[in-house]
């Protein structure tokens, strides 16, 4: 007897509801049909094209940094995204890989000659050692759940930093690190150019992506997902939960260490501060943004965060990014077009009016000029209020801006919200021009913190992740 109401069409309603409308849906379906390997090949090709198009050394370095961050995000994804373990000491594995390679490829140990193994000898050794380290660090995870593990691993990361800075300074170099590291060499060849390192790294990351994908689609991947879902139930379903947690730590450590070795070789020197907690937060930001649990998400997030931070180094480019983001968000989220036009016109008018009024009251208040360079700065000259001494003004505006943003988020009434958006945008621009653009190093950090907060509140699954259902 066919059960009443259970009909394939009805049962698939949920899937249909999730599909995107119009062209986006068609695109999504197209992507789903294309196999995984062709997609990887295309990505690989695009990556390979990059050095061909932009041979500038600085840009190559940016590319290398982006790939390194992507690889680190991939490794972190194993413990955090797949096995659901919060590893806050992950940065130590990266450092371990780098220091390991450095010790085996420099003058540091075994004076006066030092050890100068070839890459095909030293890298596997470092990776195996990293796997063991990962197991050791993962041992507390047997008894600890989520939060406790987070603290222990965070402390481990901190201890690593102290260890490399203060302990055995003659062997480990102390705060000055280890200099003069050999390049990657083997079989008579050496990698000496940035381009070479870029390609080496690209191949490495493609291998890692492929391996992780294959692992994800295997019994181990299934087991990790089961552990993430419900460790107790998994334990009852023949899955040795603790062993899988250790495996997750171990694999993550290996990936991080690989990134570390390439980092050390390409830099030529390592310092303890290359592996500090702010960098760890960066990796997390990349993973969260891209989507934890998804290989593509990890890579995308890592690349995006890395490149964005580069943009923020230069005030002009940072300006493009800042204003671009605001405009993009408005365009993407504001409907109907009339409303968008209203906001744009309103903000512009508000700005000029405010500038004029404040300028009339006190010329010192608008004597400064916007810090964005180039045509953006010129455009904004008469629009944004920038006093001669922008510092305090910027600070006050910053605090007001945060309060206003919070208030805006809480508001429900649509019209009031839209109207309030205008002064808020203007305020943001003022803050940006008077302060943020000038000190990009701190701006980046603030941005990273903001990314984490906003993503978790708005879209916890990241850009490419899938929404998870949790039973609390």
């Amino acid at each position: 007897m066919a059960p009443i109401g259970v009909d394939e069409w009805v049962a698939r309603q949920g899937e249909r509801a999730e599909e995107l409308p119009g062209w986006r849906g068609d695109a999504a379906r197209f992507f789903a049909r294309v196999g995984w390997w062709p997609k990887l090949a295309v990505i690989g090709l695009l990556g390979a094209l990059f050095p061909v198009l932009s041979p500038n050394d600085f840009q190559l370095q940016v590319g290398i940094n982006a790939l390194l961050l992507a690889m680190l995000a991939l490794g972190l994804n194993i413990s955090v995204g797949w096995a659901g373990l919060l590893d806050l000491g992950y940065i130590a594995f990266y450092g371990f890989g780098a220091y390991g390679f450095a010790l085996l490829s420099s003058q540091q140990l075994h004076s006066p000659d030092g050890i100068h193994l070839q890459a095909w000898q030293s890298i596997p050794m470092v990776l195996i050692a990293a796997a063991i380290l990962g197991l050791l660090v993962g041992l507390p995870s047997r008894r600890l759940i989520g939060d406790y593990l987070a603290i222990v691993t965070l402390f481990f990361g901190e201890v690593w930093l102290e260890f490399t800075t203060n302990v055995a300074t003659d062997k480990l170099g102390g705060p000055n690190g280890i200099p003069s590291i050999d390049p990657i060499k083997g079989f008579g060849q050496q990698i000496l150019t940035l381009k070479g390192y870029y390609y080496f790294l690209l191949v490495a990351i493609l291998v890692v992506i492929a391996s992780l994908h294959l692992l994800d689609q295997s019994r181990t991947g299934r087991a990790w997902r089961a552990v993430r879902e419900d460790p107790l139930a998994a334990n009852m379903m023949t899955i040795p939960v603790n062993r899988l947690k250790l495996m997750a730590f171990s694999f993550g450590a290996v990936v991080a260490a690989l990134a570390g070795t390439i980092f050390a070789a390409s830099q030529g020197g390592v310092f303890p501060t290359d592996f500090d907690t702010p960098f760890l937060i960066l990796i997390y930001a990349g993973l969260i943004l891209g989507g934890s649990g998804s290989i593509a998400g990890a890579v995308l997030g890592g690349l995006v965060v890395s490149v964005t931070l580069e943009f923020l180094r230069n005030p002009t480019e940072a300006g493009y990014l800042f204003y671009g983001m605001i405009i993009l968000t408005l365009v993407a989220r504001t409907r109907p077009w009339v409303k968008l036009a209203g906001i744009v016109v309103g903000t512009v008018a508000f700005g000029y009016a405010a500038h004029a009024i404040v300028g009339a009251v006190s010329s010192a208040a608008t004597a400064g000029s916007p810090h964005s360079g180039g045509w953006v700065g010129d455009l904004l000259g008469n629009w944004v209020i920038v006093p001669a001494n922008p510092k305090n003004f910027g600070n006050i505006c910053f605090v007001i801006l945060i309060c206003a943003l919070i208030a805006l988020v809480q508001m429900k009434r649509s019209t009031l919200r839209t109207v309030l958006l205008i002064p808020v945008i203007y305020l943001a621009a003022c803050v940006w021009e008077s302060r943020l653009a000038v000190e990009p190093s701190i701006t980046r950090q603030i941005l990273i913190g903001a990314i984490l907060i906003v993503m978790m509140n708005w879209r916890p699954q990241g850009l490419l992740g899938r929404r998870r259902v949790e039973v609390v």
């Binding site: 059960p3 019994r219 379903m237 023949t238 694999f251």
Partner: protein, 237 residues
């Protein structure tokens, strides 16, 4: 013939609280035994003891003649005892098929490097596990077949979730199946189906089954024997 499962004067105490007291229970192969009793009588505790969540503070538990006290839950499941949970514990974000395939971890051996390189053993086991999952899911008729395989478990209706839990437990290839309130929250039709299902589990798949149930219709319909518990003690059999 030696009993499949023996609980020998099993007791469990949490500090001063005595959850179970000197419980004797035997189960022979091919039997379906129901455990009944008021809430809080200790029924799920018995399951937890058998499956290794708790260790008894006194007494012994033997499966196929050998003591399983002190073994880890996943070891016990691999020896041949699988269970379901009173409040469902599915892997909600995994697909129906993946839920079932997850439980096959215990009898597959491919290591991570083998999986990555797709060596013959890994490929063979994947095919085998796939076939096993489909086989197990087919036991439930058309409800968990076809398009259902790739749906995430959280879209399933309550009754289907209960069925999936049983399917997942079956995939672990047990000899003994512990069902914790399999018909809880079901309407009379579904309850009837569940009763038939439990019978078929024994007849078609050769499983020995220990069931916790409140619904006396189910208990009457399937049981060879009934054990009643109250306040952690057996009061009738």
């Amino acid at each position: 013939m030696a009993p499949l499962l023996e609980l020998d004067r099993v007791g469990l105490a949490f500090g001063g609280l005595r959850a179970l007291h000197e419980l004797d229970l035997t189960l022979n192969e091919g039997e379906i035994v129901s455990v009944i009793g008021p809430n809080g009588a200790g029924k799920t505790t018995v399951f937890n003891l058998i499956s290794g969540v708790y260790e008894p503070t006194s007494g012994d538990i033997r499966f196929a003649g050998e003591s399983i006290v002190g073994k880890l839950p996943w070891q016990i499941t691999r020896l041949g005892i699988a269970r379901t949970f009173q409040s469902l514990r599915l892997f909600l974000n995994m697909t129906v098929k993946e839920n079932v395939m997850a439980a096959t971890y215990g009898h597959t051996k491919a290591s991570p490097p083998e999986s990555i390189l797709r060596l013959p053993r890994a490929r063979r086991e994947e095919r085998q596990v796939n076939a096993e999952a489909e086989n197990v899911l087919s036991f439930f008729g058309e409800r968990l077949m076809g398009y259902r395989w790739d749906q995430p478990a959280y879209v399933l209706s309550y009754a289907n979730r209960r069925r999936l839990e049983i399917a997942r437990a079956m995939a672990a290839k047990p000899q003994l199946l512990l069902l914790d309130e399999p018909a809880a929250g079901m309407n009379p039709n579904e309850t009837l189906e569940m009763t038939e299902l439990i019978g078929r589990l024994r007849d078609e798949r050769g499983l020995t089954i220990l069931v916790i149930e409140h619904d006396m219709h189910v208990v009457e319909g399937i049981s060879d024997r009934v054990v009643a518990l109250d306040h952690g003690e057996k009061i009738a059999e």
